[in-house]
Structure formats: C-alpha cells, structure tokens
C-alpha cells in the first residue's frame, strides 16, 4: 500500500507539474521564427493632465485603441492645462454592468464611451444629456453634414440626439497574402467573389489537409486539416447580421415589434455558415478554435474580423496580411459596423460639463489621429484626410461601411437580443441543433425579451 501510495504521489506530482510546465512552454511554431515586438499595455486607469477641473471618463477600449485614445487625451490636456482626466478602461461587458450600477448609486462618470447601439437603452432611462446643441443644426460646433446619415441615425432616440460619434468600426476580412499567392488567387480586393459559390470555392482552394490537398481535391482529408480557408467562430453575431441582410432578411419587422431573424432569409444565411463547417469543411467548428491565434499561427487564410485588427496585423511581422472587403454570400453586399459614441450623463454640469464638451470637441477635431487605432474616423472630413499608404484598411473598410454598412438593431434591449441570438448561432455552428431549429428557438426567446422592454 505504501509503495502504491508513493507511486500515486509521484504520478499526481507528474500530472500537476506537467500541466504547469506545459503552460509555460506552449509556443506556436509559426510565431517562433521572428520575434514580434511586445504590444504596448493599455493602462486600466490613466490620470492625464493636472488641471484643477477634474473629469472622469469611462470606456471599453482595452485594446491598442485605448493607447491611441490616451495619447490623444494627453494632447488635449496639454492644450487645456486647467483640465485633468481620469480615464478608466473597462472591458465592454463589465462596463455595461458597472455603468448601470454606477447610475443607480449616483457614482457615474462625467462622460463615457459606448456603442451607438446602446443609445436607445440609456436614452430610454432618461439618464443622458441631450447633445443636439453641439451640432451646427442646434447652434453647436459639429457640422451635421460631416457625419454620414447611417452613423447619425445611431446617435438619435425618439428624435433627440444623445451621442457624438468617435468612429465607425466594423467588419472586414484579413487575408494571408502568402497563402493566397500559393493557391494562385489574386490578392486584389476588386477580384473578391460576389456570390456564395464563389466564396466557397475560394475557401476550398485555401483549405489544405496534411498531405497538401486542397478541399476541392477528391483526395482531401477533412479530418486532418492543417490550413483552414476560413473560420466561422469569430464573432458569429455580426457575420450573421451581414449574411441576413445580404440574403434580403431583417432583424426586426418594420414596426420594430417582431423578431424576424428566423425568416427564410435568416435560416438560409445561417445555413450558409453551417455548410462552410460541415459540408465544405473549409472552417473549423466555432467552439474550441481561437481565430486570432489561428491566423497568427498561419493556420487560417481568411480571418473575418474588423478595423480593430490593423494594429494586431502590424505586430505579426511573420504573417503577411492585408484587409479585404467582407464576403458577399447573398444577392446584395452588406457588412456590419458600429460607432463608438461619446455620451454624457444628464447629471454632468457646470465646469465639468464645460471640460467634457471641450474634450469631446478636441478629440473630434483630431480624429485623423484616431485612425492609427485601426478604426475609421466618424467625421467624413477626417476620413478624406487619411493617408492611403498608412491607412489602407481604414479607407477600404470605411468606404464599405458608407456604401452598404448595416448596424445593430435599435431597441432598448439590444444587448440582450444579441446575447440570445449568439447562443442560437453557436448551437448551429457547433452542430448541436439544425440551423432552422436553433434560429427558431433563439427567435422565440428574443421575442419574449423584446415584448418585456
């Protein structure tokens, strides 16, 4: 027994140590070849400036875009020495919760940045300041015509303007140019297919098994894929929204009272994504595959991501990549985009309000700098100023947003609806439920949530 126990101890020790050591030794071979520069850490809380008028500013820019914003705020503080800003960067999901509890407790920040899709929710609670007077139509400094109509529509709820947009951020593709060239596919964005069948063929050419056969080859082994043409697991919600509208569907009925994602067009849109996994074998299932890691490790040829991927792509010096427009699976092009939006609590007044408005105006006037975060400046004049050499992805994807961009549905329960939809999409993309059942189940729950609003 003692010997057995000793053996048990040693075995357990080996297991514990193996896992601990394994974690520290995990490396991805493709990333080993050339060391990449370490990304700059985004400070979670940053005190900027030393002026006597102190304002607090919460946002969810925890990526490299947060670094860019802090640099911009340092520029603002230098020109406005009477103002100091404490910036808190909180991951989006936590920010949604923290903001609501802060409003209940009366400890809300003086200004915060959320997505345009959250304007209806906060506006309906009556906690936001009317910002109509900041636009030229209301006697303010921001020319209305400098913001696109689609972006502007996101700032408004019940006829009142509650937001000032910082950017347009949205969906595009990042392609591995080496893989395209190896497969004999042009990397010119203008050559991108315009049908589902065309995109499937492109993904098939880019999907390779361990023997080097692509997914069009009769000898292709779908159980042993080493290079995926595409990956469906990257934020399925926004992929689905694009495919939904491309196929002629909609999220809500025209009167906004009925969920319509499970229409014939919606089911067709989801089935297209499911087929990429289980029929054409050009994408791994959604769960258990880290899409960014996969692209960075040279295992994915086409990564559906967004404007925010620009800086990540620059860090991956061993992966040659470039932005492409979003795929087109239906009859019409469509791609999802949103807008980071400044909102001011109704309680911010006096000197603080003046400082907040000056800060927003300064950042808005310097939106060209914001392009280095990867996002597309919201002001059309700033978009026009972008250097094509420095900001090709911002320009390409920004044009797509203006031409055929679609946004999240505008309801007071949008986050809840998208969360419920996401579960349904995951169920279909992981083979748990057929597409129609997954979408019908999700739609039923979404309708209940919509009815409760």
């Amino acid at each position: 027994m003692t010997k057995r126990m000793s053996l048990f101890s040693v075995s357990m020790a080996v297991i514990v140590l193996t896992f601990m050591l394994a974690v520290s030794s995990v490396n991805i071979s493709a990333q080993d070849a050339t060391p990449t520069p370490a990304p700059t850490a985004t400070p979670i809380v940053a005190d900027i400036g030393s002026g006597g008028t102190h304002i607090s500013f919460w946002n969810g820019l925890t990526g490299s875009d947060g670094v860019t914003l802090n640099e911009m705020l340092a520029g603002f503080a230098a020109e406005n020495p009477d103002v100091s800003v404490t910036v808190e960067m909180i991951v989006w999901n936590t920010l949604y919760q923290k903001l609501q509890t802060a409003f209940v407790a009366g400890t809300q920040p003086d200004v915060f940045l959320l997505h345009a899709s959250e304007v209806p929710q906060y506006a309906s609670y009556g906690v936001l300041r009317d910002l109509g007077d900041q636009y030229t139509s209301g006697g303010g400094w921001l020319p209305d015509e400098d913001i696109s109509e689609t972006t502007m529509s996101g700032m408004v709820w019940d006829g009142v303007i509650y937001g000032i947009p910082l950017d347009n951020h949205g969906r595009g593709l990042w392609i591995n140019t080496d893989m395209f060239e190896a497969a004999g596919i042009s990397t010119d964005p203008a050559s991108a297919p315009t049908t589902y069948e065309g995109w499937v063929e492109l993904f098939q050419l880019l999907t390779l098994d361990a023997n080097g056969n692509n997914a069009l080859s009769p000898d292709f082994d779908p159980e042993n894929v080493v290079q995926w043409g595409y990956t469906v697991g990257e934020w399925p919600n926004v992929n689905f929204l694009a495919a939904l509208y491309q196929n002629g569907g909609s999220f809500l009925s025209e009167d906004g009272t009925t969920i319509t994602v499970n229409s014939e067009a919606g089911i067709a849109a989801l089935q297209q994504a499911v087929d990429l996994v289980y029929t054409y074998h050009v994408s791994p299932p959604a769960a258990g595959f880290d899409t960014w890691q996969g692209f960075g490790a040279g295992m994915v040829a086409v990564l559906p991501t967004g404007t925010w991927y620009r800086n990540q792509s620059l860090l991956q010096t061993d992966i040659h990549s470039m932005a492409w427009p979003n795929w087109q699976f239906g009859a019409e092009p469509a791609t999802w985009f949103g807008a980071h939006t400044f909102m001011i609590p109704a309680t911010t007044e006096g000197e603080k309000l003046d400082a907040v408005l000056r800060m927003i105006e300064w950042v808005s006037a310097n939106q060209v700098i914001w392009a280095s975060s990867g996002q597309v400046p919201a002001r059309l004049s700033a978009q026009a100023e972008l250097d094509a050499e420095l900001y090709p992805s911002n320009i390409l994807l920004g044009q797509n947003f203006s031409e055929y961009g679609i946004q999240d549905p505008r309801t007071t329960v949008t986050q809840e609806l998208l969360t419920l939809l996401d579960v349904g999409l995951q169920e279909a993309l992981n083979g748990i439920k057929p597409a129609d059942q997954a979408l019908n189940d999700a739609a039923a729950l979404m309708q209940e949530a919509l009815d409760r609003q």
Partner: protein, 312 residues
C-alpha cells in the same frame, strides 16, 4: 512567621451588574460580545442582503428603470416554466457530482499518500496544494489553452498515442467533463488538507490492533480509515457541493460564458445572464433564491445520508 504587611493582593474590580447572572449565562454573554463585530457585519452584508434579495424576487425591476412593479410569484412561475433553467440545473448537478466525486476521491488518496512517511512528503503536500492558490481567472485561461483543439497541450500529448484532436470545449457531451477535469486539478488540494487533518486524528492504536489481527493494507483502509473519516468525508462533500454548485468562473472563462450554445450553462451562469446581461434584477433574485433552496435540500440530504455517530 510571615509579617502581615497589611497589604492585600488586589484583584481587578468587576463591573457590578444590578442583577445576578449564572456562570453559563455570563460565558454566553461574553461569547456574544466577542462575536458582535462579526455579527453586525454579517447582519448588514449577508442577512440583510439575503432578505433584500428575497423581497426583490417579487418585483419586476430593470436596474435603471425608475418603476419597480410588484409581480407576486410571477418570477418563480416563469422560472419553473423555463426549460433553460432546468437545463442549467441539470448541467450544474452533473458538474458538481463529477467534481465532488473527483476532488473527494483524489483528495483522499493524495492525503493518504502524503501522510505516509515517504521521502519528500512536504514537497508533495505543497505541490498538490499549489494549484488551489491560483485565481479562477488564471486557472481558466490556462485550461482554455490546455484544452484548445488546435493548440492545446492535452491534444498534443494525445497525438503521441494516435488520438486525433478532440474538441473538448466544442463538443456538448465533453464540455462538462472537461470543465470538471480542470476544476478537480485546481481544487483537490483543499479536500486533501482536510483529509490529512482527519487522518491524523484517527488513533494509531486502531491501526496497530488491526495489523496485529492480520489485516492487510486494503482492509485497514476500507474498514478503519474510511469509516472513521466519515465526518471528514461529510464535511468535504457538503462544502464541495456548496462550492461546486456555485460554479461560474470556469464556464465563464474556459467556455466563453457557458458554450457551446448553452451546453455548459450552470445555474449561476443563468443567474448572471438574467441579472447582469438582461438586467432583470427581480427575476435574477428569484433565481438566487431557487439556487439557495436547492443547495439547502441537497445539504440536508447529504447530512441524512452520511452523518452517523462515530465512536472511537
């Protein structure tokens, strides 16, 4: 003969109460006096919060919505008619059963192993307990990597014996066992510590008597160690069920909030979704009350099942 100096040993003066208390009452009062700071804290932050939560469960309250209509038992009726709630309960029971069994059995075996006079006893005790010191965030990220289909070390090691990559976190049938496996690795150190204490309290003469009577190691383990550890096993399983029934961090981090789909939704994930994503605070409170009731029932059942008098 000692000289009487006229001095008397002084005793601390006692505060004279206007009424007489017996010794037992005085001791009880003293105990409560010492407990008072904790009880005040407990009353404000736990008891009051629990009652508030119970009261809240009868209202329909969106966090920022100014009105809060009374809805009676509607939240409970909705809850018990929600199939997702029952799926979450089933997932949680499955996870808790696997994990409590795993942590208890491995913790017991580890305790027996490191209680024996083996070389490096202290090293093994520390090593087995170290994972317990990690935050759930760190553990979750580590296991998210370990279980990754494409990049995971577990699949990498399995490939040496010809096993193709397993989609641990994407297969609805594997995801709960995978989460349980990670949790057992993380948390068997605590039961091990409790079992070590339990093993050390078993009188050595019982083992000596058994050996003299010719009992082998297996008989000693099952006839002496296990029966005399029953109170410890009860404690470990009760605290384990309470702890693992409230699992949240592992599915939230390792399976990105309970995926794939809702395959690893637990009752606390369900509560979180309702209260902190949908901001349905009244409904969330009803979920919390229901979870407390389920845990109370399970705990009573465990007490009835395992708690029997143990005589040494």
């Amino acid at each position: 003969m000692a000289e009487n100096t006229g001095q008397r040993l002084t005793e601390p003066r006692r505060f004279a109460l206007p009424f007489k208390l017996n010794l037992r009452t005085r001791e009880a009062l003293a105990a409560y006096l010492f407990l008072t700071p904790f009880l005040i804290f407990f009353a404000i932050f736990f008891v009051r919060a629990a009652f508030s939560s119970f009261e809240l469960s009868f209202y329909d309250w969106r966090l920022l919505r100014p009105n809060r209509p009374y809805v009676g038992l509607d939240n409970y009726v909705d809850l018990f008619n929600d199939p997702i709630w029952w799926d979450s309960v089933r997932n949680t029971i499955y996870f808790a059963a696997l994990t409590v069994f795993g942590t208890t059995s491995i913790g017991l075996l580890a305790a027996v192993a490191v209680t024996r006079p083996v070389r490096g006893q202290g090293f093994f005790r520390i090593l087995f307990y170290v994972p317990q010191l990690m935050s759930v965030g760190a553990m979750g990220l580590i296991w998210n990597w370990l279980l990754s289909t494409q990049f995971g070390v577990i699949n990498y090691l399995l490939s040496f014996i010809g096993i193709r990559p397993i989609n641990w976190l994407g297969d609805p049938n594997l995801v709960i066992p995978a989460l349980s496996m990670s949790t057992i690795w993380w948390s068997f150190g605590f039961p091990m510590l409790i079992f070590i204490a339990g093993l050390q309290s078993i009188p050595e003469h019982l083992y000596e008597a058994a050996r003299i009577d010719g009992a082998n190691a297996r008989q000693i383990f099952f006839r002496i160690t296990i029966p005399l550890l029953r109170p410890t096993i009860l404690f470990v399983t009760v605290t384990g069920v309470i702890s693992h029934f409230q699992v949240f961090g592992q599915p939230y981090i390792i399976t990105a909030g309970g995926g794939p789909g809702r395959s690893s939704w637990t009752v606390i994930i369900y509560l979180y979704q309702q209260a902190w994503v949908a901001f349905r605070m009244g409904y969330g409170a009803a979920v919390a009350v229901a979870i407390a009731m389920i845990m109370a029932v399970i705990t009573v059942f465990q007490f009835l099942l395992i708690s029997r008098r143990v005589d040494y």
